[in-house]
Symmetry: C2
Subunit: 402 residues, 2 copies
């Protein structure tokens, strides 16, 4: 078994647990920073480690287009490619295919779409999305689903939900047949021995001089070698059903019937009112097994992630902390700070007096404001480090309160 999940304590509906993945043990509830194209924008991996991130997200759609799955596979999967030794989760590409591409054709087979990079034509199906995610080698991968648009009428929500269920079965079938192809450890036997690959780390008897030197270097990332060499990836199912509680219930039942080690709630935060999001989350959680991790995709604000964790969600991801940071919108214990504002121009105080991150420990608001106003790259770097620290600290506090 490649994924174990233990609930250690409860408080109301909230659960505190441990998700043991091949590359890391993740304390839940967890917030997963998004590293879209194998980089959490602007933040080097060692800082991510320092912030305590145990699992980050990669986007299959983007990586499939650039640099391409075969390149990542050759470099030892995402872990080797981006030198991230902890856990990674990839989405299936389904969401971006729907959200980033206006010209797309959906049928039972899959989705034909055009690359947003160069307009070239591509096709995603449950099978190809599994193939891509196996090649990328994340610890946890997602079934290929259809993210139902919002709003949608009953018939549309049903049809979409049912296709997602059929696609989930196809995803699982392909995954079970091909999961041994994941480029971890022995599977890259024929790959180049090199800095980022795994061979040099798995077979110390024949390391290149580079790898030897690297093994001696402090801080060298033991990338791509999971602690337990017999582990494989885990595939999560995704519950859809739009904003209809009955459809959500049915989707949950059908997904559970196929059987996955974890379940996600997709198709939310697509423009619906927040009260509706909460309603659907709450009722859907009741349909999901208690002993498996529950992953709410694509949410949320600092308040929302606390709220959903308290409802019993175990995993969440969102671009908000990273994207807001790039726009100078910073989350603090005293509320949101729009650092570009003139009021901060001579503010010598820290961004957040209650934050222990390296940004708040060292730099003043005035300096952060100056960097942002000057369009300096360091603005994006420091703002993102702080926002991620805030989110990760928020989750840490939630865990401690359970």
């Amino acid at each position: 078994m490649s994924l174990s999940f233990e609930v250690d304590s409860r408080s109301g509906k909230a659960r505190r647990g441990r998700l043991v993945a091949p590359h890391a043990t993740i304390e839940t509830p967890v917030f997963m920073p998004v590293g879209t194209v194998a980089s959490v924008k602007g933040v080097p991996q060692d800082i991510l480690e320092e912030l305590g991130a145990q699992i980050i997200l990669g986007n299959t759609y983007h990586l499939y287009l650039r640099p391409g799955v075969s390149t990542v596979r050759k470099l030892g999967g995402l872990h080797g490619f981006m030198s991230w030794p902890r856990a990674i989760l990839t989405d299936s590409g389904g969401f971006q295919v729907f959200s980033l591409n206006e010209l797309r054709k959906v049928n039972e087979e899959g989705v034909t779409f055009r690359s947003h990079l160069d307009g070239s034509s591509h096709f995603f199906s449950p099978e190809s999305a599994m193939e891509a995610q196996i090649g990328l080698g994340a610890d946890i991968i997602m079934a290929f689903d259809e993210c139902t648009e919002y709003p949608a009428d009953q018939a549309r929500m049903r049809a979409s939900m049912e296709m997602t269920a059929r696609w989930a079965a196809r995803s699982k079938k392909y995954f079970e047949e091909h999961k041994n192809e994941v480029p971890w450890g022995g599977d890259v036997a024929s790959a180049e021995i090199g800095h980022g690959g795994t061979d040099a780390l798995v077979r110390p008897a024949e390391p290149s001089s580079t790898a030897q030197a690297s093994l001696r270097s402090p801080g060298r990332t033991r990338a791509s070698v999971p602690p337990h060499m017999d582990q494989t990836q885990s595939l999560f199912g995704i519950v859809q059903g739009g904003m209809d509680r009955a459809l959500r219930k049915e989707s949950a039942e059908r997904t559970i019937e196929i059987g996955f080690p974890g379940y996600a709630i997709g198709g939310l935060s697509v423009g619906e009112p927040r009260e509706l999001t909460r309603e659907i989350v709450e009722s859907t959680l009741e349909r999901l097994p208690n002993d498996k991790p529950r992953y709410l995709m694509g949410v949320g604000t600092p308040e929302e992630i606390v709220e959903y964790a308290n409802l019993g969600v175990d995993m969440m991801d969102c671009v908000l902390p990273t994207r807001a940071a790039r726009h100078g919108l910073l989350f603090t214990s005293e509320g949101k700070v729009s650092i570009k504002q003139a009021r901060y121009a001579q503010d010598a105080g820290p961004l957040d007096p209650n934050c222990g991150c390296r940004v708040c420990q060292r730099y003043s608001r005035a300096y952060l404001r100056h960097l942002y106003a000057s369009n300096e790259v360091l603005a994006q770097v420091l703002n993102t480090i702080h926002n991620l620290s805030f989110y990760l600290d928020t989750m840490r506090r939630v865990r401690h309160s359970i």
Copy 2:
């Protein structure tokens, strides 16, 4: 005395020395990374410290325009503002006023120019350039000079050189009369007690709760408090004279006659052939005192900085490592690498197998190439860290060879 310079050993014309500035002891020859608007683009200050940078450069022209000298002064000078506890050198603004502004009017008084940011009209003179640099509070500041254009005829080079000499005298006069206004230590008694200011650090009896918490925090930067509280800034003179050796000789003599603790050679790397640069550097160095630091401004490539250090230059600065990094041009022990090239797309090896920097120790060429091709911010961050590491390591090796 605020600056002491000792030559510890020699090898040919090269000298290995120690420059004791208020905020750091700098081993020479030294390469100074350029932090234009109070940031070495993309590189956080703690990484600069880790790379071993003892002194960095700030550009007065840019900082004067944004965020403005009074803001920086209020935050404790550049050291407090950008949380850099080691040494800083500022240029006078003269070069950018000439190079960035086509519409400018020069007369004996100074230079009228328009801000490249918003077109507003400004005036720089020796006096105002000193006032600005005192407010910014760098350890070493530069006389306000005229960077002679290239090419220029004899009459023009002479006139320009002579005005620089007159401006040097005015710079020194103003500096001597006002250097006590530097915002270090006790001089910000009336400034806000805060995170970035110095009061909280100088007067621990009345720290804000923020400052107290900060003093307890690991890694807290003791910014803006120089080791020796009675120290002030040092003003360096600049030798001009275009490409004429006799004019350079005369400029050196006149600058020495005014008397400065250090001397710079300006007005080179302005388009002249490299052999001419070397000629002028070599002959000008012979005119400068051996017991004072000699600063060659605005150079150069990794080969050039070694070459000039071996001629007897003690200090250099250049935007090349940082600017080239942003264009994916990386300096390595095996030559220049243009990381965007397709040949690196699956190259698992490190950027430079002989480099000990965090980038080469962790990431593959394939990953760096992907980041650059994807226009990721991390590309700029990592590329810059490597190039600076390469330059600083190069200088370190030169020092060890002397």
